[in-house]
Protein backbone atom coordinates (compact mmCIF):
# COMPACT_ATOMS: atom_id res chain seq x y z
CA UNK A 1 0.00 0.00 0.00
CA UNK A 2 1.56 3.24 -1.09
CA UNK A 3 0.21 5.52 1.60
CA UNK A 4 0.66 3.03 4.40
CA UNK A 5 4.44 3.02 4.28
CA UNK A 6 4.97 6.60 5.36
CA UNK A 7 4.81 7.60 8.99
CA UNK A 8 2.88 10.84 8.52
CA UNK A 9 1.01 9.78 5.41
CA UNK A 10 0.80 13.14 3.76
CA UNK A 11 4.57 13.49 3.87
CA UNK A 12 4.78 10.78 1.24
CA UNK A 13 2.98 13.12 -1.12
CA UNK A 14 5.20 16.05 -0.36
CA UNK A 15 6.85 15.30 -3.66
CA UNK A 16 4.50 15.13 -6.60
CA UNK A 17 6.43 12.15 -7.96
CA UNK A 18 4.19 9.77 -6.05
CA UNK A 19 0.99 11.43 -7.26
CA UNK A 20 -0.38 9.90 -10.44
CA UNK A 21 -1.65 12.00 -13.31
CA UNK A 22 -5.24 11.45 -14.42
CA UNK A 23 -6.37 11.09 -17.97
CA UNK A 24 -9.84 10.53 -19.38
CA UNK A 25 -9.64 9.33 -22.96
CA UNK A 26 -12.88 9.95 -24.90
CA UNK A 27 -14.93 8.61 -22.03
CA UNK A 28 -18.63 7.99 -22.54
CA UNK A 29 -20.98 6.59 -19.98
CA UNK A 30 -24.63 5.55 -19.96
CA UNK A 31 -26.43 4.31 -16.82
CA UNK A 32 -28.08 0.88 -17.02
CA UNK A 33 -31.46 2.53 -17.65
CA UNK A 34 -30.02 4.11 -20.77
CA UNK A 35 -29.51 7.64 -19.44
CA UNK A 36 -26.49 9.03 -21.21
CA UNK A 37 -24.42 10.92 -18.67
CA UNK A 38 -21.00 11.41 -20.31
CA UNK A 39 -20.17 11.89 -23.99
CA UNK A 40 -16.63 11.75 -25.32
CA UNK A 41 -15.04 13.41 -22.31
CA UNK A 42 -11.36 14.10 -22.72
CA UNK A 43 -9.59 15.56 -19.71
CA UNK A 44 -6.06 15.47 -18.37
CA UNK A 45 -5.23 16.44 -14.81
CA UNK A 46 -1.56 16.64 -13.90
CA UNK A 47 -0.16 15.52 -10.58
CA UNK A 48 -0.67 18.19 -7.94
CA UNK A 49 -3.24 20.25 -9.84
CA UNK A 50 -6.24 21.78 -8.07
CA UNK A 51 -9.26 21.56 -10.32
CA UNK A 52 -12.87 22.61 -9.84
CA UNK A 53 -15.60 21.00 -11.90
CA UNK A 54 -18.67 23.15 -12.46
CA UNK A 55 -21.80 22.70 -14.54
CA UNK A 56 -25.56 22.59 -14.59
CA UNK A 57 -27.48 20.10 -12.48
CA UNK A 58 -27.38 16.78 -14.27
CA UNK A 59 -24.47 17.75 -16.51
CA UNK A 60 -22.47 14.70 -15.44
CA UNK A 61 -20.08 16.00 -12.77
CA UNK A 62 -20.72 13.33 -10.15
CA UNK A 63 -20.78 10.67 -12.82
CA UNK A 64 -17.38 11.81 -14.04
CA UNK A 65 -15.68 11.72 -10.65
CA UNK A 66 -17.15 8.30 -9.87
CA UNK A 67 -15.02 7.06 -12.76
CA UNK A 68 -11.84 8.14 -11.02
CA UNK A 69 -12.03 5.60 -8.21
CA UNK A 70 -13.60 2.82 -10.23
CA UNK A 71 -17.12 3.17 -8.79
CA UNK A 72 -18.27 3.45 -12.39
CA UNK A 73 -16.64 2.07 -15.51
CA UNK A 74 -16.82 3.87 -18.83
CA UNK A 75 -19.17 2.50 -21.46
CA UNK A 76 -16.56 3.60 -23.97
CA UNK A 77 -13.10 5.11 -23.60
CA UNK A 78 -10.55 4.74 -20.83
CA UNK A 79 -9.62 6.30 -17.51
CA UNK A 80 -5.88 6.25 -16.87
CA UNK A 81 -3.84 6.91 -13.74
CA UNK A 82 -0.22 7.49 -14.70
CA UNK A 83 -1.04 5.88 -18.03
CA UNK A 84 -2.54 2.75 -16.46
CA UNK A 85 -6.15 1.82 -17.12
CA UNK A 86 -8.01 1.95 -13.79
CA UNK A 87 -9.69 -1.34 -14.74
CA UNK A 88 -6.30 -2.95 -14.36
CA UNK A 89 -5.62 -1.41 -10.97
CA UNK A 90 -6.73 -3.54 -8.05
CA UNK A 91 -9.67 -2.00 -6.13
CA UNK A 92 -7.74 -1.93 -2.87
CA UNK A 93 -4.83 -0.14 -4.50
CA UNK A 94 -7.19 2.28 -6.24
CA UNK A 95 -8.80 3.07 -2.87
CA UNK A 96 -5.37 4.10 -1.62
CA UNK A 97 -4.86 6.42 -4.59
CA UNK A 98 -8.20 8.18 -5.00
CA UNK A 99 -10.35 9.32 -2.07
CA UNK A 100 -13.89 10.44 -2.93
CA UNK A 101 -16.18 12.35 -0.55
CA UNK A 102 -19.76 11.83 -1.73
CA UNK A 103 -22.24 14.55 -2.61
CA UNK A 104 -24.82 12.96 -0.30
CA UNK A 105 -23.09 12.08 2.98
CA UNK A 106 -25.82 9.62 3.87
CA UNK A 107 -24.77 7.40 0.99
CA UNK A 108 -21.26 7.29 2.42
CA UNK A 109 -21.67 7.10 6.19
CA UNK A 110 -22.61 3.87 7.93
CA UNK A 111 -20.70 3.49 11.21
CA UNK A 112 -22.36 4.14 14.57
CA UNK A 113 -19.52 6.26 15.93
CA UNK A 114 -17.83 9.21 14.30
CA UNK A 115 -14.35 7.89 15.15
CA UNK A 116 -15.13 4.46 13.66
CA UNK A 117 -16.42 6.11 10.52
CA UNK A 118 -13.19 8.03 10.06
CA UNK A 119 -11.01 5.02 10.93
CA UNK A 120 -12.71 2.75 8.41
CA UNK A 121 -10.89 3.99 5.30
CA UNK A 122 -7.33 4.01 6.63
CA UNK A 123 -7.90 0.69 8.38
CA UNK A 124 -8.81 -0.81 5.03
CA UNK A 125 -5.53 0.54 3.73
CA UNK A 126 -3.75 -1.48 6.39
CA UNK A 127 -3.10 1.35 8.85
CA UNK A 128 -3.17 0.28 12.52
CA UNK A 129 -2.21 1.40 15.99
CA UNK A 130 -0.88 4.86 16.80
CA UNK A 131 -0.78 5.95 13.17
CA UNK A 132 -4.45 5.11 12.76
CA UNK A 133 -5.28 7.09 15.90
CA UNK A 134 -3.19 10.01 14.72
CA UNK A 135 -4.89 10.07 11.33
CA UNK A 136 -8.36 9.96 12.86
CA UNK A 137 -7.51 12.77 15.28
CA UNK A 138 -6.00 14.90 12.53
CA UNK A 139 -8.93 14.43 10.16
CA UNK A 140 -11.43 15.26 12.90
CA UNK A 141 -9.45 18.34 13.89
CA UNK A 142 -9.24 19.54 10.28
CA UNK A 143 -13.00 19.33 9.94
CA UNK A 144 -13.81 20.77 13.36
CA UNK A 145 -15.27 17.50 14.62
CA UNK A 146 -12.71 16.89 17.35
CA UNK A 147 -15.34 16.92 20.10
CA UNK A 148 -17.64 14.47 18.31
CA UNK A 149 -15.47 11.33 18.18
CA UNK A 150 -17.96 9.31 20.22
CA UNK A 151 -21.11 10.72 18.63
CA UNK A 152 -23.38 8.66 16.37
CA UNK A 153 -23.12 10.20 12.88
CA UNK A 154 -26.92 10.27 12.63
CA UNK A 155 -27.11 12.56 15.64
CA UNK A 156 -25.08 15.15 13.76
CA UNK A 157 -26.86 17.81 11.72
CA UNK A 158 -26.55 17.77 7.94
CA UNK A 159 -23.63 20.18 7.72
CA UNK A 160 -21.55 18.15 10.15
CA UNK A 161 -22.43 14.86 8.44
CA UNK A 162 -21.06 16.47 5.30
CA UNK A 163 -17.84 17.39 7.15
CA UNK A 164 -17.65 13.86 8.54
CA UNK A 165 -17.80 12.46 5.01
CA UNK A 166 -14.88 14.77 4.22
CA UNK A 167 -12.94 13.70 7.33
CA UNK A 168 -13.35 10.02 6.42
CA UNK A 169 -11.67 10.65 3.10
CA UNK A 170 -8.97 12.93 4.54
CA UNK A 171 -7.89 10.19 6.93
CA UNK A 172 -6.99 7.99 3.97
CA UNK A 173 -4.38 10.55 2.88
CA UNK A 174 -4.75 9.56 -0.73
CA UNK A 175 -2.59 11.34 -3.28
CA UNK A 176 -5.76 12.25 -5.17
CA UNK A 177 -8.57 13.90 -3.24
CA UNK A 178 -11.98 14.22 -4.88
CA UNK A 179 -14.72 16.23 -3.18
CA UNK A 180 -18.27 16.24 -4.54
CA UNK A 181 -19.83 19.57 -3.50
CA UNK A 182 -17.90 19.89 -0.23
CA UNK A 183 -19.34 23.30 0.76
CA UNK A 184 -23.02 22.36 0.50
CA UNK A 185 -24.86 23.39 3.65
CA UNK A 186 -21.76 24.95 5.23
CA UNK A 187 -21.86 28.33 6.93
CA UNK A 188 -19.05 30.87 6.54
CA UNK A 189 -16.84 28.97 8.97
CA UNK A 190 -17.55 25.63 7.34
CA UNK A 191 -16.67 26.98 3.91
CA UNK A 192 -13.43 28.40 5.35
CA UNK A 193 -12.59 24.96 6.77
CA UNK A 194 -13.13 23.34 3.40
CA UNK A 195 -11.02 26.04 1.76
CA UNK A 196 -8.22 25.28 4.25
CA UNK A 197 -8.46 21.56 3.58
CA UNK A 198 -8.15 22.16 -0.16
CA UNK A 199 -5.25 24.59 0.28
CA UNK A 200 -3.35 22.23 2.56
CA UNK A 201 -3.78 19.22 0.30
CA UNK A 202 -2.74 21.25 -2.73
CA UNK A 203 0.20 22.64 -0.76
CA UNK A 204 1.33 19.08 -0.04
CA UNK A 205 1.43 18.41 -3.75
CA UNK A 206 -1.66 16.24 -3.83
CA UNK A 207 -4.19 16.51 -6.62
CA UNK A 208 -7.45 18.07 -5.46
CA UNK A 209 -10.60 17.88 -7.54
CA UNK A 210 -13.84 19.42 -6.29
CA UNK A 211 -17.28 19.74 -7.78
CA UNK A 212 -19.05 22.93 -6.77
CA UNK A 213 -21.88 25.31 -7.60
CA UNK A 214 -20.29 27.99 -5.41
CA UNK A 215 -18.41 30.10 -7.94
CA UNK A 216 -16.77 32.21 -5.27
CA UNK A 217 -15.25 29.12 -3.64
CA UNK A 218 -14.23 27.86 -7.08
CA UNK A 219 -12.51 31.12 -8.05
CA UNK A 220 -10.72 31.44 -4.72
CA UNK A 221 -9.51 27.90 -4.17
CA UNK A 222 -8.72 26.34 -7.54
CA UNK A 223 -6.12 26.90 -10.23
CA UNK A 224 -8.20 25.41 -13.02
CA UNK A 225 -11.92 25.29 -13.70
CA UNK A 226 -13.53 22.64 -15.89
CA UNK A 227 -17.01 23.46 -17.17
CA UNK A 228 -19.42 20.64 -18.06
CA UNK A 229 -22.57 20.80 -20.08
CA UNK A 230 -24.79 17.88 -20.99
CA UNK A 231 -22.14 15.25 -20.40
CA UNK A 232 -19.33 17.10 -22.14
CA UNK A 233 -16.44 19.26 -21.07
CA UNK A 234 -17.08 22.54 -22.87
CA UNK A 235 -14.57 24.90 -21.30
CA UNK A 236 -11.48 24.65 -19.12
CA UNK A 237 -8.91 27.13 -17.91
CA UNK A 238 -7.74 29.28 -15.04
CA UNK A 239 -10.49 31.11 -13.09
CA UNK A 240 -9.62 34.45 -14.68
CA UNK A 241 -10.12 32.90 -18.12
CA UNK A 242 -13.23 30.84 -17.40
CA UNK A 243 -14.88 33.70 -15.48
CA UNK A 244 -13.43 36.35 -17.81
CA UNK A 245 -15.76 38.36 -20.02
CA UNK A 246 -14.75 36.55 -23.21
CA UNK A 247 -16.02 33.26 -21.77
CA UNK A 248 -19.37 34.55 -20.49
CA UNK A 249 -21.40 33.46 -23.53
CA UNK A 250 -20.04 29.92 -23.18
CA UNK A 251 -20.60 30.03 -19.43
CA UNK A 252 -24.17 31.25 -19.91
CA UNK A 253 -24.82 28.46 -22.42
CA UNK A 254 -23.81 26.04 -19.67
CA UNK A 255 -26.35 27.77 -17.35
CA UNK A 256 -23.62 29.20 -15.15
CA UNK A 257 -22.82 32.67 -13.90
CA UNK A 258 -19.44 34.17 -13.03
CA UNK A 259 -18.93 35.40 -9.45
CA UNK A 260 -20.08 38.98 -8.83
CA UNK A 261 -16.48 40.18 -8.42
CA UNK A 262 -15.73 39.07 -11.99
CA UNK A 263 -18.86 40.75 -13.35
CA UNK A 264 -18.19 44.01 -11.52
CA UNK A 265 -14.54 44.06 -12.61
CA UNK A 266 -15.50 43.59 -16.24
CA UNK A 267 -18.19 46.26 -16.08
CA UNK A 268 -15.65 48.72 -14.71
CA UNK A 269 -13.05 47.75 -17.29
CA UNK A 270 -10.70 46.51 -14.57
CA UNK A 271 -9.79 43.31 -16.39
CA UNK A 272 -10.24 39.83 -14.97
CA UNK A 273 -11.11 39.94 -11.26
CA UNK A 274 -12.45 36.46 -10.47
CA UNK A 275 -12.02 36.89 -6.72
CA UNK A 276 -13.10 39.63 -4.33
CA UNK A 277 -9.51 40.36 -3.37
CA UNK A 278 -8.51 40.65 -7.03
CA UNK A 279 -11.37 43.11 -7.47
CA UNK A 280 -10.28 45.25 -4.52
CA UNK A 281 -6.69 45.21 -5.76
CA UNK A 282 -7.79 46.31 -9.22
CA UNK A 283 -9.96 49.11 -7.81
CA UNK A 284 -6.97 50.26 -5.76
CA UNK A 285 -4.70 50.22 -8.77
CA UNK A 286 -7.21 52.21 -10.79
CA UNK A 287 -7.36 54.85 -8.06
CA UNK A 288 -3.66 55.53 -8.38
CA UNK A 289 -1.85 52.56 -7.01
CA UNK A 290 -1.60 51.09 -3.58
CA UNK A 291 -1.96 54.35 -1.73
CA UNK A 292 -4.45 53.51 0.93
CA UNK A 293 -4.91 50.74 3.44
CA UNK A 294 -2.86 48.12 1.63
CA UNK A 295 -5.35 47.53 -1.16
CA UNK A 296 -2.57 46.77 -3.53
CA UNK A 297 -0.69 44.66 -1.04
CA UNK A 298 -1.71 41.38 -2.60
Amino acid sequence: MTAAGSPAGSAAWGSTAAVPSIELEVVSFAYPDGTRALSDVGLRIEAGESVAIVGQNGSGKSTLVRHLNGLLRPTAGRVLLDGRDVRRIHVARLAGLVGLAFQNPDRQLFASRVSAEVAFGPRNLGIRGPELDERVQAALADTGLGAEAATNPYDLGYSRRKLLALASVLAMRTPILVLDEPTTGQDARGVARVRDVVARAAGEGRTVIAISHDMRFVAESFRRVVVMREGRVVLAGAPDVVFGEAAWPELGAAYLEPPLAAVAGARLGLGATPTESAFVTAVGRRRGGATAGGAGAE
Binding site: G58, N104, D187, A188, V280, G293
Partner: protein, 273 residues
Amino acid sequence: MSAGLVLAGASYRYAGALGAALAAVDLRLEPGRVVGVAGANESGKSTLCLVVAGLAPSVIGGRLDGSVRIDGVETAATRPHELAQRCGLLFQNASTQLSNTTATVLEEVAFGPCNLGLPAAEVVERVWWALRAVGIEPLAPRDPARLSGGQGQLVALASVLALRPSYLVLDEPTSELDPAGTRLVAEALARIAGETGAGILLVEHKTEVLAHIADDVVVLERGTVALSGPAAEVLADPRLVELGVEPPAQVRLERAVRAAGLEWSAALAEAIE
Protein backbone atom coordinates in the same frame (compact mmCIF):
# COMPACT_ATOMS: atom_id res chain seq x y z
CA MET B 1 -59.17 34.40 13.98
CA SER B 2 -55.86 35.94 12.91
CA ALA B 3 -54.24 34.73 9.70
CA GLY B 4 -50.56 33.93 9.81
CA LEU B 5 -48.11 31.48 11.22
CA VAL B 6 -47.10 32.72 14.62
CA LEU B 7 -44.53 31.48 17.12
CA ALA B 8 -44.70 33.07 20.55
CA GLY B 9 -42.01 32.21 23.07
CA ALA B 10 -41.51 28.86 21.38
CA SER B 11 -38.85 26.68 23.02
CA TYR B 12 -38.04 23.15 22.02
CA ARG B 13 -35.83 20.42 23.39
CA TYR B 14 -35.06 17.17 21.55
CA ALA B 15 -35.89 13.96 23.39
CA GLY B 16 -32.91 13.02 25.53
CA ALA B 17 -31.07 16.28 24.85
CA LEU B 18 -29.68 18.29 27.72
CA GLY B 19 -30.27 21.81 26.42
CA ALA B 20 -32.94 23.51 24.35
CA ALA B 21 -32.40 23.63 20.58
CA LEU B 22 -34.80 26.57 20.34
CA ALA B 23 -35.30 29.09 23.12
CA ALA B 24 -38.11 31.63 23.35
CA VAL B 25 -38.46 32.20 19.62
CA ASP B 26 -40.96 34.79 18.40
CA LEU B 27 -41.71 34.77 14.71
CA ARG B 28 -44.52 35.83 12.40
CA LEU B 29 -45.15 34.72 8.84
CA GLU B 30 -48.07 36.38 7.08
CA PRO B 31 -49.81 34.91 4.04
CA GLY B 32 -48.16 36.00 0.80
CA ARG B 33 -44.88 36.89 2.51
CA VAL B 34 -41.43 35.32 2.38
CA VAL B 35 -39.50 35.19 5.64
CA GLY B 36 -35.86 34.14 5.32
CA VAL B 37 -34.04 32.23 8.04
CA ALA B 38 -30.26 32.42 8.24
CA GLY B 39 -27.79 31.35 10.88
CA ALA B 40 -24.58 29.46 11.46
CA ASN B 41 -24.48 25.69 11.29
CA GLU B 42 -26.25 24.11 14.28
CA SER B 43 -27.96 27.38 15.15
CA GLY B 44 -31.40 25.72 15.03
CA LYS B 45 -32.70 26.43 11.52
CA SER B 46 -33.85 22.88 10.81
CA THR B 47 -35.24 22.55 14.31
CA LEU B 48 -37.27 25.69 13.70
CA CYS B 49 -38.64 24.12 10.52
CA LEU B 50 -39.67 20.96 12.37
CA VAL B 51 -41.39 22.98 15.07
CA VAL B 52 -43.16 25.31 12.63
CA ALA B 53 -44.38 22.38 10.53
CA GLY B 54 -45.67 20.65 13.64
CA LEU B 55 -43.41 17.58 13.37
CA ALA B 56 -41.71 18.51 16.59
CA PRO B 57 -42.87 17.33 19.00
CA SER B 58 -45.89 15.44 17.61
CA VAL B 59 -43.91 13.08 15.36
CA ILE B 60 -40.32 13.17 16.63
CA GLY B 61 -41.03 13.66 20.33
CA GLY B 62 -39.20 16.09 22.58
CA ARG B 63 -40.72 18.96 24.48
CA LEU B 64 -42.27 22.14 23.12
CA ASP B 65 -43.10 25.14 25.29
CA GLY B 66 -44.77 28.32 24.18
CA SER B 67 -47.15 28.58 21.29
CA VAL B 68 -47.08 27.70 17.59
CA ARG B 69 -50.25 28.75 15.79
CA ILE B 70 -51.23 28.43 12.17
CA ASP B 71 -54.08 30.77 11.30
CA GLY B 72 -55.03 30.97 14.92
CA VAL B 73 -55.00 27.23 15.69
CA GLU B 74 -52.31 25.61 17.82
CA THR B 75 -50.41 23.05 15.73
CA ALA B 76 -50.38 20.74 18.74
CA ALA B 77 -54.17 20.57 18.46
CA THR B 78 -54.19 19.93 14.70
CA ARG B 79 -54.33 16.45 13.20
CA PRO B 80 -51.30 15.52 11.02
CA HIS B 81 -53.42 15.11 7.86
CA GLU B 82 -54.89 18.58 8.27
CA LEU B 83 -51.50 20.02 9.17
CA ALA B 84 -50.01 18.70 5.93
CA GLN B 85 -52.47 20.83 3.97
CA ARG B 86 -51.74 23.90 6.00
CA CYS B 87 -48.00 23.61 6.12
CA GLY B 88 -45.69 21.76 3.73
CA LEU B 89 -42.14 20.96 4.82
CA LEU B 90 -39.15 20.39 2.57
CA PHE B 91 -36.42 18.57 4.49
CA GLN B 92 -32.82 19.72 4.31
CA ASN B 93 -31.68 16.39 2.90
CA ALA B 94 -33.94 16.04 -0.12
CA SER B 95 -33.36 12.31 -0.50
CA THR B 96 -35.15 11.69 2.81
CA GLN B 97 -38.20 13.32 1.25
CA LEU B 98 -38.71 10.67 -1.43
CA SER B 99 -41.50 8.19 -0.78
CA ASN B 100 -39.38 5.32 -2.20
CA THR B 101 -42.58 3.79 -3.48
CA THR B 102 -42.93 5.36 -6.91
CA ALA B 103 -41.39 4.44 -10.25
CA THR B 104 -41.47 7.84 -11.92
CA VAL B 105 -41.01 11.47 -10.97
CA LEU B 106 -44.57 12.06 -12.14
CA GLU B 107 -45.95 9.53 -9.65
CA GLU B 108 -43.62 10.82 -6.95
CA VAL B 109 -44.94 14.36 -7.24
CA ALA B 110 -48.52 13.00 -7.45
CA PHE B 111 -48.04 10.95 -4.28
CA GLY B 112 -48.89 13.76 -1.84
CA PRO B 113 -51.89 15.20 -3.70
CA CYS B 114 -53.27 11.64 -4.15
CA ASN B 115 -53.01 11.10 -0.42
CA LEU B 116 -55.03 14.26 0.12
CA GLY B 117 -57.84 12.46 -1.74
CA LEU B 118 -58.08 15.04 -4.50
CA PRO B 119 -59.89 14.25 -7.77
CA ALA B 120 -57.60 12.80 -10.43
CA ALA B 121 -57.91 15.76 -12.74
CA GLU B 122 -56.78 18.11 -10.03
CA VAL B 123 -53.87 15.86 -9.09
CA VAL B 124 -52.69 15.88 -12.70
CA GLU B 125 -53.06 19.63 -12.97
CA ARG B 126 -51.11 20.21 -9.77
CA VAL B 127 -48.33 17.81 -10.70
CA TRP B 128 -47.61 19.51 -14.02
CA TRP B 129 -47.91 22.93 -12.45
CA ALA B 130 -45.31 21.96 -9.81
CA LEU B 131 -42.93 20.35 -12.32
CA ARG B 132 -43.19 23.45 -14.50
CA ALA B 133 -42.64 25.80 -11.57
CA VAL B 134 -39.21 24.33 -10.87
CA GLY B 135 -38.37 23.60 -14.51
CA ILE B 136 -38.24 19.79 -14.44
CA GLU B 137 -41.01 18.68 -16.80
CA PRO B 138 -38.49 16.61 -18.82
CA LEU B 139 -37.76 14.53 -15.71
CA ALA B 140 -41.40 13.38 -15.40
CA PRO B 141 -40.83 9.83 -16.74
CA ARG B 142 -37.54 9.29 -14.87
CA ASP B 143 -36.99 7.10 -11.81
CA PRO B 144 -36.83 9.50 -8.83
CA ALA B 145 -34.15 7.37 -7.17
CA ARG B 146 -31.81 7.66 -10.17
CA LEU B 147 -31.24 11.36 -10.56
CA SER B 148 -28.42 13.79 -9.94
CA GLY B 149 -28.30 15.53 -6.54
CA GLY B 150 -29.77 18.78 -7.79
CA GLN B 151 -32.44 17.04 -9.86
CA GLY B 152 -33.49 15.08 -6.77
CA GLN B 153 -33.74 18.28 -4.77
CA LEU B 154 -36.00 19.82 -7.41
CA VAL B 155 -38.25 16.74 -7.39
CA ALA B 156 -38.54 16.95 -3.61
CA LEU B 157 -39.42 20.63 -3.86
CA ALA B 158 -42.01 20.00 -6.58
CA SER B 159 -43.59 17.31 -4.37
CA VAL B 160 -44.09 19.84 -1.59
CA LEU B 161 -45.33 22.56 -3.92
CA ALA B 162 -47.91 20.17 -5.39
CA LEU B 163 -49.56 19.94 -1.97
CA ARG B 164 -50.36 23.68 -2.32
CA PRO B 165 -50.25 24.24 1.42
CA SER B 166 -51.09 27.63 2.92
CA TYR B 167 -47.54 27.79 4.28
CA LEU B 168 -44.33 26.41 2.87
CA VAL B 169 -41.39 25.63 5.12
CA LEU B 170 -38.31 25.06 2.98
CA ASP B 171 -35.05 23.96 4.59
CA GLU B 172 -32.21 25.01 2.23
CA PRO B 173 -34.13 24.21 -0.98
CA THR B 174 -31.37 25.47 -3.29
CA SER B 175 -28.33 23.95 -1.57
CA GLU B 176 -27.51 21.59 -4.45
CA LEU B 177 -28.78 23.73 -7.32
CA ASP B 178 -26.71 25.38 -10.02
CA PRO B 179 -26.83 29.20 -10.24
CA ALA B 180 -29.56 29.19 -12.90
CA GLY B 181 -31.64 26.66 -10.95
CA THR B 182 -31.24 28.71 -7.79
CA ARG B 183 -32.51 31.80 -9.58
CA LEU B 184 -35.40 29.89 -11.14
CA VAL B 185 -36.51 28.48 -7.79
CA ALA B 186 -36.16 31.85 -6.06
CA GLU B 187 -38.34 33.49 -8.68
CA ALA B 188 -40.87 30.65 -8.58
CA LEU B 189 -41.17 31.00 -4.79
CA ALA B 190 -41.63 34.76 -5.01
CA ARG B 191 -44.35 34.22 -7.61
CA ILE B 192 -46.09 31.56 -5.55
CA ALA B 193 -46.14 33.85 -2.53
CA GLY B 194 -47.43 36.76 -4.61
CA GLU B 195 -50.01 34.90 -6.67
CA THR B 196 -51.34 32.20 -4.35
CA GLY B 197 -50.89 34.02 -1.07
CA ALA B 198 -48.80 31.20 0.40
CA GLY B 199 -46.54 32.24 3.27
CA ILE B 200 -43.00 30.93 2.84
CA LEU B 201 -40.39 30.29 5.51
CA LEU B 202 -37.12 29.92 3.63
CA VAL B 203 -33.90 28.68 5.24
CA GLU B 204 -30.90 29.72 3.15
CA HIS B 205 -27.13 30.06 3.40
CA LYS B 206 -27.23 31.89 0.06
CA THR B 207 -28.04 35.33 1.38
CA GLU B 208 -28.24 36.62 -2.20
CA VAL B 209 -31.42 34.57 -2.53
CA LEU B 210 -32.82 36.17 0.61
CA ALA B 211 -31.82 39.63 -0.61
CA HIS B 212 -33.69 38.86 -3.82
CA ILE B 213 -37.00 37.52 -2.54
CA ALA B 214 -37.36 37.69 1.26
CA ASP B 215 -39.50 40.38 2.84
CA ASP B 216 -38.06 39.80 6.30
CA VAL B 217 -35.06 37.88 7.56
CA VAL B 218 -34.55 36.19 10.92
CA VAL B 219 -31.05 35.21 12.02
CA LEU B 220 -30.73 32.45 14.59
CA GLU B 221 -27.91 32.05 17.06
CA ARG B 222 -27.82 29.00 19.29
CA GLY B 223 -31.56 28.58 19.15
CA THR B 224 -32.53 32.19 19.75
CA VAL B 225 -33.44 35.00 17.39
CA ALA B 226 -30.35 37.22 17.21
CA LEU B 227 -31.55 39.57 14.46
CA SER B 228 -34.84 40.10 12.68
CA GLY B 229 -36.38 42.72 10.47
CA PRO B 230 -36.69 43.80 6.84
CA ALA B 231 -34.38 41.74 4.61
CA ALA B 232 -32.28 44.65 3.35
CA GLU B 233 -31.59 45.89 6.88
CA VAL B 234 -30.73 42.52 8.38
CA LEU B 235 -28.52 41.50 5.46
CA ALA B 236 -26.50 44.71 5.74
CA ASP B 237 -26.20 44.45 9.52
CA PRO B 238 -22.55 44.36 10.56
CA ARG B 239 -23.32 41.71 13.21
CA LEU B 240 -24.17 39.19 10.50
CA VAL B 241 -20.55 38.09 10.10
CA GLU B 242 -20.11 37.42 13.82
CA LEU B 243 -23.25 35.33 13.65
CA GLY B 244 -21.54 33.08 11.11
CA VAL B 245 -23.61 34.27 8.16
CA GLU B 246 -21.98 35.29 4.88
CA PRO B 247 -23.47 38.63 3.76
CA PRO B 248 -24.65 38.86 0.12
CA ALA B 249 -21.87 39.36 -2.45
CA GLN B 250 -22.89 42.99 -2.97
CA VAL B 251 -22.45 43.77 0.70
CA ARG B 252 -19.15 41.87 0.87
CA LEU B 253 -17.64 43.68 -2.10
CA GLU B 254 -18.58 47.11 -0.79
CA ARG B 255 -17.11 46.26 2.62
CA ALA B 256 -13.90 44.87 1.12
CA VAL B 257 -13.37 48.03 -0.94
CA ARG B 258 -14.01 50.30 2.04
CA ALA B 259 -11.84 48.14 4.31
CA ALA B 260 -8.97 48.73 1.89
CA GLY B 261 -9.38 52.45 2.52
CA LEU B 262 -10.85 53.05 -0.91
CA GLU B 263 -13.85 55.20 -1.69
CA TRP B 264 -17.10 53.41 -2.52
CA SER B 265 -18.14 55.45 -5.54
CA ALA B 266 -21.41 55.59 -7.43
CA ALA B 267 -19.72 53.85 -10.36
CA LEU B 268 -18.78 50.93 -8.12
CA ALA B 269 -22.27 50.75 -6.68
CA GLU B 270 -23.66 50.62 -10.20
CA ALA B 271 -21.23 47.88 -11.25
CA ILE B 272 -22.56 45.48 -8.61
CA GLU B 273 -26.25 46.08 -9.33
